[in-house]
Amino acid sequence: MTAPCLEISDLSATLANGVRVLRSVSLTVEPGEVRALVGESGAGKSMIGKAVLGVLPPSVRIAEGRIRLEETDLGALPLKARRTLIGARTALIPQDPLTALNPSRRIGPQMTDRLTKILGWEGAKAEARIRQLLDEVHIREPERVIRSYPHEISGGMRQRVLIAAAFAAEPRLIVADEPTTALDVTVQKQILRLIAEMQRDRGTAILFVTHDLGVVAKISQKVSVLYAGKVVEEADTPALFAAPQHPYTRALMAATPRYTDPMASLKPVDDAVLAGLAAEIADADRSWRAPHG
């Protein structure tokens, strides 16, 4: 059996004051699989993505646990080797394409940079690859986009450019951090289709961070539900929607609006559910002590 593309085991992270932001998180992403991380704000879903990419904010410290990319334990590598490995094997599709792109440079050179850095490709070879990638993300006039500045193209188009850039160096794993949250619903659907298509064609694994259970249902095969930095439920996506086990998952589903059943949706989360969660979190923290080091 091959190793998972990504394996996170018992990952805990704390702030400088000792407050835990991730609580013994364990999950795997198999090659070619999309795993959704779903939760509300402060659940730690983006934090997990950042930990994988090695870009945690300086105030957050990994206290315990392991992150493996295929066979390699990231924690065991020296910083430079770790960065090189993460750069070669992974990529990010960010939420806001406008801040992820340099506003004062044309799209083309920003995309070739990555190919140069990771694959050592330059000049015509890199440019041809960029043109091919833009074609694969269904942009009709790649030449025009290559010559454009980020502000000259629409939000949906920018997100296509970043998807192309993420897949450019053929990563094994992509972290998609709320990639459609800022988009209109019709554009969101196009972008989700595009990510699914690129991912299926290449067998890329994706860790897909989202707050939207609707997006989870459409894009993922596996799902981890997070609350306060803890995985409260983990399941195959169809199983989660067929029979959610944790009261919080059920509450989230009941709170999510659906036009097909307006009166049964949009239910505020019951106080008893929140009290149960608080007890669960307190319990987890009682049996946990930050290792020194």
Binding site: E40, S41, H138, I139, R140, E141, R144, V145, S148, I153, S154, G156, M157, R160, D184, V185, T186, V187, Q188, K189, Q190, L192, R193, L194, A196, E197, H211, D212, L213, G214, V215, V216, A217, K218, I219, T237, P238, F241, A242, A251, L252, M253, A255, T256, P257, R258, Y259, T260, P262, M263, S265, L266, K267, P268, V269
Partner: protein, 277 residues
């Protein structure tokens, strides 16, 4: 329609296009709303939906005269308010209230919550029994009276939006504009805020223009819906009819694009079409 609260005829709004403004001189105007006709019936919530750039927020601002229309008319309670000067509008402001998307930027950081809710009461000649009125406004949105002593930054996103609602409803207005009031809130908080608005609108007999990009939310809250695109009305009608049998292809696309929280393997299967930059 019999005796609507707001009646809009041929509404046009043109705004300066700052992206094409020359270094010196005025920016050229761009037509945002292109001749809208509709009525908002009394005591009911009307949804205004559309994607970004459709003109839904501009429409909302024109309804409460935050911007002056460049053409057509807006009648409020039978009175033409399209070009009323600010002084003549002032007595009507009490009845035309609004709740904004981001309460963080619409609440003064230096004033207590009580002072924020009291300010419009004082301006509108309801300054007597101020303490009781503020306490009542807070109670109505499910906040204890001592919340009045707090400041904006001490509140969660959901609590801030409750304050936004309390401030708008403290004046017992006839009309409330709610512009994307739950974007940016978590789903659990969103459900609380929307069910609160739903309850208060029914209790107080409010006429609400509920602007949203989320059709699922609109279906739950609104009695009728207006679908906008590129500054025009694509389709309008009673909510159930619009969802059950959408007449316009754009409405059908909008509804089909909503990712429902249920498994549907076919949803992603269509191959995307080419798009032009």
């Amino acid at each position: 329609m019999a005796d609507p609260l707001l009646s809009v005829r041929g509404l046009e709004v043109a705004l300066p296009d700052m992206t094409r403004k020359p270094l010196f001189g005025a920016a050229p105007k761009v037509q945002i709303l292109k001749g809208l006709d509709f009525d908002l019936p009394r005591n009911s919530v009307t949804g205004i939906v559309g994607e970004s750039g459709s003109g839904k927020s501009t429409l909302g601002r024109a309804l409460v005269r935050l911007i002056e229309p460049t053409g057509g008319s807006v009648a409020f309670d039978g009175r033409d308010i399209t070009h009323l000067p600010e002084a003549a509008l002032k007595p009507l402001r009490r009845d035309l209230q609004m709740i904004f998307q981001d309460p963080m930027s619409s609440l003064n950081p230096r004033r207590t919550i009580a002072a924020i809710i009291a300010a419009p009461l004082k301006q509108n000649g309801m300054g007597d029994n101020l303490r009781d009125r503020v306490a009542e406004a807070l109670r109505r949105v499910g906040l204890p009276e001592n919340f009045g002593k707090r400041y904006r930054h001490e509140l969660s996103g959901g609590q801030r939006q409750r304050v936004g609602i309390a401030r708008a409803l403290a004046l017992s207005p006839k009309f409330v504009l709610a512009d994307e009031i739950v974007s940016g809130l978590d789903v659990s908080t969103q459900a609380q805020i929307l069910t609160l608005l739903e309850k208060l609108a029914a209790e107080m007999g409010l006429t609400v223009a509920f602007i949203s990009h989320d059709l699922s939310v609109v279906r739950r809250l609104c009695k009728q819906v207006i679908v906008m695109r590129n500054g025009m009305i694509v389709e309008a009608g009673p909510t159930d009819a619009l969802f059950d049998a959408p007449q316009h292809a754009y409405t059908r696309d909008l509804i089909a694009a909503i990712p429902l929280p249920e498994i549907d393997p076919a949803w992603l299967d269509e191959r995307p079409a080419k798009v032009t930059a």
